[in-house]
């Protein structure tokens, strides 16, 4: 099975909780014509991690590190949510039963359906389980 086609390359950016940091990231992306598909901010005590799916992750990486940001790549998966109640619970149940941990998740509204972005501790196994249970996953190609 070709797991890699479902590996979506997320960029994660370390940011202090101070005004203007988010705007600086957004502006940098815009300057280089990089599209942001999905975006989430996880905040903690004094700092945060900005996670984004963009059309040119490598370009975004170079641009942001050049500006002094700490950036890393993370492989995530995108689960297309069925437009019915309990969809999220369903995904969590499938992964939970397989002993796969969800590190974090965030949603965004894709063209056809809502998409749940997941960072899991065993991405290959997660892909197999979700597909085996009839779920559908975004392909990485959709983000280019």
């Amino acid at each position: 099975m070709e797991h890699e086609r479902y590996f979506i390359k997320q960029i994660s950016v370390f940011s202090e909780n101070r005004p203007g940091r988010l705007a600086a990231i957004a502006k940098a992306m815009e300057e280089d014509g990089i599209n942001i598909f999905a975006f989430s901010i996880a905040e903690a005590d004094g700092f945060g991690v900005v996670r984004a799916l963009v059309n040119h992750p490598d370009k975004a990486y170079r641009k942001l590190t050049g500006l002094g940001f700490v950036v890393s790549f993370t492989d995530v998966i995108g689960v297309k949510m069925r437009d019915e109640p309990g969809g999220l619970y369903e995904v969590a149940r499938i992964l939970g039963e397989a002993g796969i941990n969800i590190e974090y998740s965030y949603a965004y509204s894709g063209k056809e359906a809502a998409v749940l972005i997941l960072r899991v501790d065993n991405i290959r196994s997660a892909i197999e389980k979700i597909l085996a249970h009839g779920g559908s996953l975004m392909e990485a190609a959709a983000f280019r």
Partner: protein, 432 residues
């Protein structure tokens, strides 16, 4: 090898009896001949007769750097110009410089102290010692020059600067030891490599006598491994005469010759003695100084003291590496905190950089200490929990080192202010 085995290995009790005799003589002399110290003693309601044991030293009043500055240039001197044979002048970072005068005996004592020290580093007549401390008003160059000549070594008085020439002379004259600041030696090592010279392979250098600026154990390891030498810490300040004391070949603390100086480590806030091994402010009484008396002089350097007899056989106490200055000290909930302790702790944590900022504030009538550190790019994780773990680990390590609660804030790399020269890392909001 000892320079003076009788003194250097003297039984502790005998050494203390000697110290007491010297102290008693000094106090009578000060009371009789120093207008300044006489007045100080009167104010403290202490008479020379009150000094009946060595520990009665604590009855004597302290001297501070400001006493030397306030009495510029020579009002504290107990010798006339006819008796003085030299001046050294140290430029103060604030205000007036400090002038130190020396009688012939003062120079002799200084030289003997260094002769013992250099011998304890394994140096002797077979050595060629390059003195790359500045010669002139600064005490480093001339002090080590006379000390090295006294032990019968051959001196190359290169002073500072002209690095390429220094390296050529080091090779051509076969220098086996160098006296300079650790940062200058690192600079020399780099300059030598650019010239195609490896100090380790292409020179005879085996010993470095390094000091006159703060340096760390980590720096020592780097210098020793890279340059293939043994690096010894040297200590002294111009007020005390100049560089005076070094580590012995055990590299486990700097021997302070007890017949030369009586050393106390005090709490900078209360002036009370701290326990053996505990950190505090180095306070010295130079027992035989003639021109400029130094009695319970609060040097401002932070160190600890060790009284155990050294493995080298010397009975004289040792001080540990200087870890900071009292001027930088913060008092957090009554506990003394030094920025250098924070720096030292951070150096041992690979996840964060060495730059930091300290913010002190008062919250609900209590002092709060916040340390901002930069996350290293290699330690960055997209998971908040991983970053929180780093934050908590740093807070825990700092808390254990400082014995106060520390809040840690993770900052972006490169975001904390950088300093050239003296760092201003502390923001104390309590004063505002």
């Amino acid at each position: 090898m000892y320079w003076d085995s009788k003194i250097e290995t003297m039984e502790r009790e005998e050494l203390e009896r000697l110290q007491y005799r010297l102290l008693k003589t000094l106090v009578y002399r000060l009371y009789s001949f120093s207008a300044f110290y006489h007045r100080r003693m009167e104010e403290a309601k202490v008479h020379p007769d009150d000094v009946k044991t060595l520990s009665d030293v604590t009855k004597l009043p302290f001297m501070f750097k400001r006493d030397l500055r306030d009495n510029y240039p020579d009002k504290l001197f107990m010798a006339t110009q006819e008796d003085l044979v030299r001046y050294h002048v140290s430029s103060g970072t604030t205000g007036k410089p400090t002038v130190v005068g020396y009688t012939a005996n003062d120079l002799e004592e200084w030289t003997v102290s260094l002769a013992r020290a250099l011998t304890s580093c394994g140096l002797g007549t077979k050595d060629v010692i390059q003195v790359s401390y500045g010669y002139g008003l600064f005490t480093g160059g001339l002090g080590l020059h006379y000390g090295a000549e006294r032990i019968g070594a051959t001196v190359i008085p290169t002073s500072v600067g002209g690095t390429e020439r220094q390296i050529e002379l080091m090779q051509d004259l076969g220098a086996t030891a160098i006296c300079c600041t650790p940062s200058y030696l690192l600079h020399m090592g780099e300059a030598a490599e650019k010239m195609g010279v490896s100090i380790k392979k292409d020179t005879k250098l085996k010993v470095g006598i390094l000091g006159a600026e703060p340096w760390t154990a980590e720096m020592r390891t780097r210098i020793q491994d890279w340059l293939g030498i043994k690096a010894y810490d040297i200590y002294g300040t111009s007020e005390l005469s100049g560089p005076l004391f070094t580590e012995c070949t055990e590299q486990n603390g700097i021997h302070i010759w007890g017949d030369f100086a009586y050393t106390e480590i005090v709490d900078p806030k209360t002036g009370e003695h701290v326990g053996d091994g505990e950190k505090g402010e180095l306070t010295m009484t130079i027992l035989k100084k003639e021109a400029l008396p130094i009695v319970r002089y609060r040097i401002g350097d932070i160190t600890g003291m060790e009284h155990e007899v050294c493995a080298c056989g010397r009975t004289h106490p040792r001080i540990t590496r200087i870890t900071g200055r009292v001027d930088d000290m913060l008092i957090i909930r009554g506990i003394n905190v030094f920025p250098s302790q924070i720096e030292h702790t951070l150096m041992g944590i690979p996840e964060v950089g060495q730059h930091f900022q300290i913010v002190v504030d008062r919250k609900h009538e209590l002092d709060a200490l916040l340390v901002r550190v930069e996350v290293k790019p290699e330690a960055f994780s997209d998971k908040i929990t991983d970053l929180m773990k780093i934050k908590e680990m740093v807070a825990h390590r700092l808390g254990a080192a400082l014995t106060v609660n520390v809040d840690v804030e993770l900052a972006e790399p490169g975001s904390l202010p950088r300093f050239e020269g003296k760092a201003k890392r502390v923001i104390d909001r309590r004063k505002m």
